[in-house]
Amino acid sequence: MRKIFSRPESMKDVPTHYCAGCGHGIVHRLICEVIDELGIREKTIGIAPVGCAVLAYDYWNFDVTEAAHGRVPAVATGIKRVAPENIVFGYQGDGDLAAIGTAEIIHAANRGENITIIFVNNSVYGMTGGQMAPTTILKQKTATTPNGRDKTMHGFPLKVCELLSSIEGVYYAERVSVHSPKNVLKARQAIKRGFQNQIDGLGFSIVEVLSQCPTYLGLSPVEAVRWIEDAMITQYPLKVFKEKK
């Protein structure tokens, strides 16, 4: 019998620590599928963030390093500059990339580093217990916005793709989502493009992935994907923000 669906070689055969209904597992798998498809597993170096995906190295079957909180793009820069032959990608959450690591992402983007960043935006801090993220939407309740995010006290949701697409050094910026099968397929295409750009030496690529966090949205997995559709996408439109010609 012909096998038409199996675990990607880039993905270890181990259970993950992610909560039921979490989007991280989907994004991990998409990355692994793309790496297999592009045949780059043996020259890929991944960078795991601080946050829920901190243990990504336990699930990926290629070389992976950790980075200090928010410093993924700086570590990626160091690796890629001394070894342009390697494929270097960073995996970052919203706290990592859009709060504590804003300087690193903006300047790696501005230098046009030939790296790929997969940015998982689930609108909340997961690992530490559901605190407000820079991407938490207005009125969203979190552990540190018990009455909902209030623009006068907490500012506005930070729109990373919109922000980065204004930077000249960025080659490619797209926002996708993994809340439905159709969107998962689109996300896969975008992630593949992010890696292909690096292979082609085109420069800095970022794929922002909207992802569900049922645990800290206080919703069931089904309600959480509905929340992405109803509440999150209206704030964070899915599209290609930039692709240099």
């Binding site: 597993r41 890929t44 079957n61 290629f62 950790e66 820069t77 160091g78 500059r81 690193e104």
Partner: protein, 356 residues
């Protein structure tokens, strides 16, 4: 000395001497952020690195610079960053991660006055930060303190060897004077054989081998304690093998000065003048501040009446001197802080007060 020299003396400032020595030692990655008084170092790197196929990056922050070094190091390339006191404070997070991930790196600190923004005058007030860990967690860094630019060549090259051999960050601790002053120096021959250690732990893609992970997160029951104990074993080995100091007039001194770097140089001038007056004064100059020459100091307590610690700080290394000699002899202190430089005449007066 690291092999034969070129036999040619050149006049260079300390910051450039260290940059050139790093390149001779095989450093091929530098990232840094501008801060006085070490700016000649990155400027030199920005000129030279592209010429030799190395990488120079002016980072957006000290944090970013040390993390770029982290990236280059885990890929197996000899990497360095440099800064001065406030910038080194910012790098501490990265230094802790380098220690936790067992990654080699060389960090130069050309100390200036603190706390806070302080001033840009020379200082030795980052001793505690350099030798006691600096960042969070149970770790050590090797700390080398040159007093002369010729010695800075030797110690810069040594710092890369030690960093690779022991897989850990090494700090080269100087001050604004050492960075800025010019002295004639002789460099080792550039064609000498490289001592590059074989690195079988780097991330370079998992072709023909199992994937590797570099991390300092150890969540398993007892896992971190076990790892930290392993680090301590490494540190014990370093203590036994790598302690370096210079002892001047160790055989007959009644008052023994203890001083490092720039202030040790000034002590030497004072000692010679006092010796001309018949006073038996000597010097212990730690070259490694960690590991500290504890045994050497303890060994001197038999014959020495007292110690005088001289520092460009309010008194930091004095604590290690006291610990080393186990309170067997009095320990006096003369220091200047906030960019004040110790004076030969003041050192002589301090010795005279004790000697009487």
């Amino acid at each position: 000395m690291p092999g034969p020299t070129t036999g040619k003396k050149v006049l260079m400032c300390g910051n450039e001497v260290i940059a050139k020595s790093a390149i001779l030692a095989g450093c091929r990655f530098y990232a840094g952020y501008p801060i006085t008084p070490q700016n000649e170092l990155p400027a030199y790197m920005s000129r030279r690195m592209p010429e030799i196929g190395g990488v120079f990056i002016q980072a957006e922050s000290e944090l970013s610079a040390i993390n770029m070094v982290f990236g280059a190091s885990l890929r197996g390339v000899r990497a360095m960053t440099s800064s001065s006191s406030p910038g080194i404070s910012l790098k501490q997070e990265g230094i802790s991660y380098l220690a936790g991930c067992e990654l080699p790196a060389v960090i130069v600190n050309m100390m200036r006055g603190g706390p806070g923004l302080g001033n840009i005058a020379p200082s030795q007030a980052d001793y505690f930060q350099a030798v006691k860990g600096g960042g969070h967690g149970d770790y050590r860094t090797i700390v080398l303190a040159p007093a002369y630019l010729q010695e800075a060549i030797e110690l810069t090259m040594l710092s890369f060897e030690l960093a690779d051999n022991y897989r850990m960050p090494v700090i080269l601790l100087g001050d604004g004077i050492l960075g800025q002053m010019m002295e004639p120096v002789e460099f080792p021959h550039p064609n000498r054989p490289s001592n590059n250690t074989k690195k079988d732990w780097i991330l370079d893609g998992c072709k023909d081998r199992a994937p590797r992970i570099i991390r300092s997160l150890l969540l398993g029951e007892g896992e971190l304690e076990e790892f930290n104990n392993k680090l301590q074993q490494k540190y014990l080995l370093i203590k036994s093998r790598e302690t370096r100091c210079e002892i001047l007039y160790g055989e007959d001194s009644r008052v023994m000065l203890v001083s490092y770097g720039t202030s040790a140089r000034i002590c030497k001038g004072a000692i010679e003048k006092l010796r001309q007056r018949g006073m038996k004064v000597g010097l212990v100059r730690p070259i490694t501040l960690w590991p500290f020459p504890e045994k050497e100091l303890l060994g001197l307590t038999k014959d020495v009446d007292s110690f005088l610690v001289v520092e460009m700080s309010c008194g930091q290394m004095i604590e290690d001197v006291k610990l080393s000699i186990e309170c067997r002899k009095p320990v006096h202190f003369y220091g200047r802080s906030g960019g004040g430089v110790v004076l030969e005449s003041e050192i002589m007066r301090a010795v005279e007060d004790i000697y009487a």
